[in-house]
Symmetry: C2
Subunit: 311 residues, 2 copies
């Protein structure tokens, strides 16, 4: 939700061809034999203007009749796939079986949904995020998040396959050429982490650290949404935006803190990162735009001899 809202802010500021979105595929999952890429779809639907504004996923006005009928044949139908949404998964599955790569299919989906920004899945290779929860063992991410509602003590998070996965075509080039690289207010372990773990990505961001900003996914010491606090605690981190900043210390020069966490700014500075304190709660499109603008402005100002109008 945070990433999608932030993206709406960016979309309202930038020309479509100035915005490349690199998307996590670690929570891709197969349901009923269909390849579902929840993060890619959320980004596509957001950019296409199809997302329900309040809800973090799916297509506005969707219905669930097919899913209900699938319940006759399958014991589990907890992942909410709408009738309109299913068309995306049917098309993706069909195209992958015909030999297209996930990034080719994603480009096709974007074109057919009239999305003009470039949406890049992080990799065309299989990566699956597992969350190891005490008493339950490693759970595939969607099962952990949706079925188990992100409950339980997190012992380990693993993006299986990521060390052998190659960044999808365009990912490294896009990161090399970007005027600004923004890590949105998303979960650093399961949403941003798998992208950073791809061979070559982290090293590239370390070299481009001056152009990288991260937005805190926590406000007032708690995540805006989701089980991030349990993950931080379970993995031995402080439950605080400072812990998130520390995860990005080597790759981001700017860290955006919510104004409710202003008192933490000196600790961000102590990590060697510039703190930017502002309102990060994107409760309206105007606020999302304002946040995106503030981040871009600071990054641009910090670039020696490089203003946004020229980037």
């Amino acid at each position: 939700v945070g990433a999608a809202r932030f993206l709406r802010g960016l979309r309202s500021l930038l020309e479509p061809d100035a915005l490349n979105v690199i998307v996590n595929t670690g929570d891709d999952e197969s349901f009923f034999g269909l390849h579902v890429s929840p993060d890619v779809d959320t980004i596509l639907y957001t950019l296409a203007g199809l997302s329900p504004l309040a809800q973090g996923w799916g297509i506005a006005g969707d219905s669930f009749r097919c899913l209900q009928a699938l319940g006759r044949f399958y014991p589990e139908t907890w992942f909410q796939l709408g009738d309109l949404d299913l068309a995306t998964h049917i098309y993706r599955t069909d195209s992958l079986r015909r030999g297209q790569s996930l990034s080719q299919v994603t480009a096709q989906l974007a074109r057919q949904l009239h999305v003009r920004q470039r949406v890049l899945p992080m990799t065309d290779d299989p990566v699956r995020t597992f969350v190891d929860v005490a008493g339950q063992g490693p759970l595939p991410f969607q099962r952990y998040l949706v079925r188990r509602r992100g409950r339980g003590r997190v012992r380990r998070i693993e993006a299986r396959g990521v060390e052998r996965a190659r960044p999808a075509p365009g990912v490294l080039r896009s990161l090399r050429q970007a005027g600004a690289i923004l890590l949105p207010p998303s979960n650093p372990f399961v949403s941003i982490g798998p992208i950073l773990a791809l061979p070559g990505v982290r090293a590239l961001l370390q070299r481009r650290r001056a152009r990288v900003a991260a937005v805190s996914p926590m406000v007032g010491g708690a995540p805006v949404k989701g089980p991030l606090h349990r993950m931080l605690r379970g993995l031995g981190h402080e439950v605080s935006p400072v812990a998130v900043a520390a995860l990005y210390q080597d790759i981001a020069s700017l860290f955006v803190l919510d104004k409710r966490d202003a008192r933490l700014a000196p600790r961000i500075a102590a990590l060697g990162m510039q703190p930017l304190v502002t309102d990060t709660l994107m409760t309206t499109p105007g606020r999302a735009r304002h946040l995106a603008q503030a981040v871009l402005r600071v990054l641009d100002g910090s670039a020696p001899g490089r203003a946004k109008s020229r980037s």
Copy 2:
């Protein structure tokens, strides 16, 4: 439609375990990467009581939202797949990919739809019916029937793959053991024909000819539904129930003529088949039941020393 109505009549007369249905798979088709078995589904939905009574296909009260959304991604969406219906195709496709056979999947679908009769696809091997239409070349059956509305001069009909296809498990045994074998009022070329063309089937029916009855799919010299008249004409046959009877001459001892075609009874008899003249237009469930009863009664009477109560 004719077969489905006739089947409703039979269902109302027979215990579920007394009725085995062998179904054509020659018009199976892949749409959007999903394996659709239109004839199998029509039979399953009919026996499950899900079919719309008037319409020959699909599930009563279905909607078409997913299909509409698929229209964003595919140029052609002429085959009407409803949201509820899609669940069947998604499940079938998933199960086939997991290594199940079409007859295993069909048995599962039947069980989950609470169908107690045995529904056997004619084969687990791929068979595809093509209709060669003047000026258009060989068309896959659904494209010919639905997309082209069965128009054009038929030059040839071919069930590709049928000579190498093995009858599905249970098909030959069922035909060997049946007290009565009924060819419903269906298209003899594209609905019944592929089943008869399977290795072993025709020879078996020739041996069991005394127990085989066929119901004319034509009334008053025209097919009740569909392009049968064009097929008969295009393939050089007389457009008449007599031509259909002639196709079954070697395998059926009884041929059911509609009362509007009573004058043709002597020509049926001349083929060496017993004509049964009755009302074959199954405009109500009562008439369908009456027709089924009439056919079974004559077959039973003709079996030496074998009454229906003992079969």
